[in-house]
């Protein structure tokens, strides 16, 4: 029961993001959606993913987003078009239709049987540090990309810039 409630709230909050004119409210809605997603993850025992979702998506990304919003306050937000928000209900119907069709198709077709069933006793620790170690090098590199990337972008703000 809790699961269905969280799922429904998640979808509602995510869709609401479109309807708020004030970006801050939209950001809050997104954060609430993340909290709901976190709840859903908890329900299935994906504890670590849930914690990550909570702290990173509901927390870190919201903070980053809100600070960017507040630092870019004086741009042309006022004359932003509201059209997409009005179109959304119609588009939603379209999406739902496509969605139902796809999922019905997936549910109805035979999936390749048991294939490789989950190995018993596979904890997150084993999975992450055991099987996904290949990604770890990747993630270290990604963090470096993020660092250098942001430094590169921010250098535009420094006084001395050579021109091409």
């Amino acid at each position: 029961m809790l699961l269905y409630a969280s799922l429904v709230l998640l979808v509602i909050f995510a869709i609401l993001v479109c309807f708020f004119k004030d970006l801050l409210y939209a950001a809050v809605s997104l954060a609430l959606a993340s909290v709901m997603l976190s709840a859903v993850l908890f329900q299935y025992g994906a504890n670590i993913a849930a914690v990550f979702e909570l702290s990173v998506c509901a927390g870190l990304i919201t903070v980053l987003f809100v600070s960017t919003v507040s630092m870019t306050k004086d741009s042309d937000q006022a004359n932003e078009s509201r059209l997409p928000a009005y179109f959304l209900p119609f588009i939603l119907v379209l999406f739902l239709g496509l969605d139902f069709f796809l999922v019905k198709w997936l549910a109805g077709s035979t999936l390749v049987g048991a294939g490789f069933p989950a190995t018993p006793g596979l904890t997150f620790q084993n999975a992450f540090w055991g099987q996904r170690m290949t990604d770890i090098v990747g993630q270290v590199s990604l963090i470096l990309v993020g660092v250098f990337g942001i430094l590169t972008i921010m250098r535009a703000l420094s006084e001395r810039r050579k021109h091409d």
Binding site: A46, A118, G146
Partner: protein, 102 residues
């Protein structure tokens, strides 16, 4: 396929589509980024659905965690570009000064 897997897939794909819509319907960069985030939620749900169906939630957890980390770095970089774009060019409108045609 059990009922909750179906529900997860349904909502996941729906959020994915809504996210893509947000990305392309709006001109303001910040709303576009919101669209990216909504899309990411959708992807997480689809992955979760796959994991629940296969019974290997822990393995999928590892994938989801990695995905969250990757998307966070992406969001940080995009927000940085947005911030600088606004500071220097005073505009967050992605179609502004569109000298480049398709």
């Amino acid at each position: 396929m059990t009922e909750d897997v179906i529900l997860l897939l349904l909502s996941g794909l729906l959020l994915f589509m809504v996210g893509v819509y947000l990305m392309f319907a709006y001109r303001n960069l910040l709303r576009i980024i919101l669209g990216v985030e909504v899309m990411a939620k959708g992807v997480t749900l689809v992955l979760l659905a796959a994991g629940v169906f296969r019974g290997s939630v822990d393995y999928i957890q590892a994938l989801i965690v990695t995905f969250i980390i990757v998307e966070t770095i992406l969001a940080a970089v995009v927000l940085a570009i947005t911030f600088v774009a606004q500071r220097i060019y005073n505009s967050l409108d992605i179609r502004n000064l569109s000298k480049l045609k398709g």
